[in-house]
């Protein structure tokens, strides 16, 4: 019996390991510091292994979004439609921004949908870590899955809106053209840009929850200066060239212009829409201008935002869910 009550040190290493310090023991058996951040290539591999999780998570969230509503999934189509209706009423009918823009309603809807893709991806990204702390604390997975999944949700939402958009475009006598194929690369680049921004905001939002109060104001300012509901080209013509160039790099404008060009190339034809004024003094539709090097701008934004956002998010990987 005396052996049992003798103090036994169950922690002490035995046999050939006897006498090793905890650090030496950990090193010998290749143990790593708990919660250590994986290297960037390792992290990318882990994330790639979770690709089906990202897809399944996004689909499940999208479906769950409207489960409590009576009309259910119909809201996925109704929400963008109502959005366009409100903007059309305020900016098209009351403020008459439609004067001077060819096929205003299609122009407006494309702008609203494209901007909203960025806007909601950033907003969802900001809350993606802080709203899913339970999941983060319970299971181990690369945390970047969350902002990426939330961007995928917004992309799925946009694709549904695109169906509505095609109907609106066709109803406005715009015929399908070869440029419609450009929608795919434009969407891809914008998705990359949004994912990057969502990851940046996810890290900031995880640390400082105040930012989610501030985001709606920042995003609304961005929307109003980006020319979603009215053409900004008329306002900036009197600016110094430097500022015009800076302004033309606004990513929201770049992605909207690309999509508008892809959907309705005719609106960019100065022969068809020469501009000028009619007898009553109303401005006649003037052809839109596609800035030079717009694809380079779109690609640069996508690449810079995605790479920087990914590295920025990964840098704090071990800190999400702590506290």
């Amino acid at each position: 019996m005396s052996t049992l009550s003798d103090p036994v040190n169950l922690s002490a290493p035995r046999g050939s390991d006897a006498g090793l310090t905890p650090k030496q023991l950990a090193d010998k058996y290749g143990l790593s510091v708990s919660g250590k951040r994986p290297s960037l290539p390792q992290y990318i591999r882990q994330l790639w292994a979770r690709r089906s999780f990202i897809g399944a998570f996004a689909t499940a969230r999208l479906v769950a979004q409207y489960t409590t509503a009576k009309l259910g999934q119909l809201w996925q189509v109704l929400t963008p439609l109502l959005n366009c209706a409100v903007f059309y009423l305020v900016f098209g009918v009351i403020m008459k921004s439609r004067d001077g823009v060819p096929v205003y309603i299609a122009w407006l809807c494309i702008g609203v949908f494209v901007f909203q893709f960025s806007q909601s991806a950033i907003q969802a990204g900001t809350r993606s870590v802080s709203d899913n702390l339970g999941l983060i604390r319970a299971l181990h997975f690369p945390r970047a899955s969350l902002p990426i999944a939330f961007t995928v949700i917004q992309l799925q939402q946009l694709l549904i809106s695109m169906v509505v958009l095609v109907a609106i475009v066709l109803a406005n006598d715009i015929m399908p053209a070869m440029t419609w194929f450009l929608i795919i690369p434009a969407l891809l680049l914008q998705s990359m840009f949004n994912t990057g921004l969502a990851m940046v905001m996810a890290r900031i939002g995880a640390k400082t929850s105040d930012i989610s109060q501030l985001m709606p104001f920042l995003l609304r300012t961005w929307m109003y200066v980006s020319g979603v509901m009215y053409s900004v080209s008329g306002y900036i013509q009197s600016w110094p060239t430097v500022w015009q160039t800076v302004y033309s790099w606004n990513p929201a404008t770049v992605y909207m212009d690309l999509m508008r060009y892809a959907f309705m190339p005719d609106s960019f034809d100065p022969h068809k829409y020469p501009g000028g004024y009619d007898a009553q003094g109303h401005a006649l539709p003037k052809a839109l201008i596609l800035p030079d090097h717009i694809w380079i701008m779109a690609g640069t934004w996508a690449l810079v935002a995605f790479v920087l956002g990914f590295v920025f998010f990964w840098k704090a990987e071990e800190e999400y869910g702590r506290g």
């Binding site: 052996t3 049992l4 009550s5 103090p7 036994v8 040190n9 169950l10 922690s11 002490a12 290493p13 035995r14 046999g15 050939s16 390991d17 310090t21 905890p22 650090k23 023991l25 950990a26 058996y29 290749g30 143990l31 790593s32 510091v33 708990s34 919660g35 250590k36 882990q46 292994a49 979770r50 089906s52 999780f53 399944a56 998570f57 499940a60 969230r61 769950a64 489960t67 899913n132 339970g134 999941l135 604390r137 319970a138 299971l139 181990h140 997975f141 899955s145 071990e318 800190e319 869910g321 702590r322 506290g323």
Partner: protein, 270 residues
């Protein structure tokens, strides 16, 4: 009788001299919580504004020294119980092993990534139990094929469907016991190197507790290490052969469960 006892003792010493593979090394760890919004500081907007203007450190941040210099090593195939009164630092210790809390001093080394199962760890409450199972498994790194293969086992193990088709209801409609059972079943579907269980079994019913104890023993046989925090001393006795007693963030005892739990129940501190 004496011979038999001597034999087992010899066997035990023979095994004792073998080098064992460590899975968790906790080396003189101190953990300090920074609690925001604590204390008597006024939370009004004007006081927050004046704090920003005067650049004073927020008086509402308080530091709590939850773990003070704990060291131990756990080995493959061990089930370790953590006992102590409420607020003694048991759950903090587990969260730190899982890598969810930074250490102020000292270091924690682990084999692979430990998984922490807590009572409050909600998964996705607005999704159905079914979706939670699939998403949980995918998040742990299983392939869709593996998930399909194990799905039925997980649902059967949780016993969620014993009283009707509850798995197709959103998880927010589950009772706390049902939620905890499903979470444990999801996490236990994968072989973990280190599994940390924080009171997660306490809410389950009798049948589920038996199943989960059996599953913990299986996990140990698959060369994992299991940590169990519980106020149910019988559960500790049944599952763990080694127990660590923590009080005020300091280790009181580390030894065989029978001995440690007996002295803990008597309040007999060495």
């Amino acid at each position: 009788m004496a011979d038999a006892a001597l034999d087992t003792l010899k066997e035990a010493t023979a095994v004792d001299n073998q080098a064992r593979v460590p899975t968790v090394v906790v080396d003189d760890v101190h953990i300090v919580y920074k609690v925001h919004g604590a204390g008597s500081g006024k939370g009004s907007a004007t006081s927050a504004l004046s704090r920003i203007i005067t650049r004073k450190k927020s008086p509402t941040i308080r530091e709590v020294h939850a773990v003070r210099g704990i060291s131990f090593t756990a080995y493959k195939g061990e089930a370790v119980g953590l006992i102590g009164s409420n607020g003694s630092g048991k759950s903090t210790m587990l969260a730190a092993i899982a890598g969810l809390l930074p250490t102020e001093r000292g270091a924690i080394y682990t084999n692979g990534q430990p998984s922490l199962l807590g009572v409050n760890a909600a998964l996705m409450n607005d999704l159905t139990g079914e979706r939670n199972v699939v998403l949980g498994c995918l998040a742990m790194g299983m392939s869709p094929a593996q998930v399909r293969e194990r799905y039925q086992n997980i649902v059967d193990f949780s016993g969620i469907n014993e009283k009707g088709d509850f798995i197709s209801l959103p998880m927010r409609t589950y009772s706390s016991g049902m939620g905890a059972r499903l979470r444990f079943s999801i996490a236990a579907a994968k072989t973990h190197d280190v599994l940390l269980i924080d009171e997660a079994l306490a809410t389950g019913d009798q049948g589920f507790q038996q199943r989960s104890k059996a599953r913990i023993n299986e996990l140990r046989k698959e060369a994992g290490t299991v940590f169990l925090v519980s106020h149910d001393n019988n559960a500790i006795r049944e599952v763990c052969e080694r127990t660590i007693w923590i009080e005020h963030g300091e280790m009181i005892m580390d030894g065989h469960t029978d001995e440690v739990v007996r002295r803990y129940e008597k309040g007999d501190r060495p």
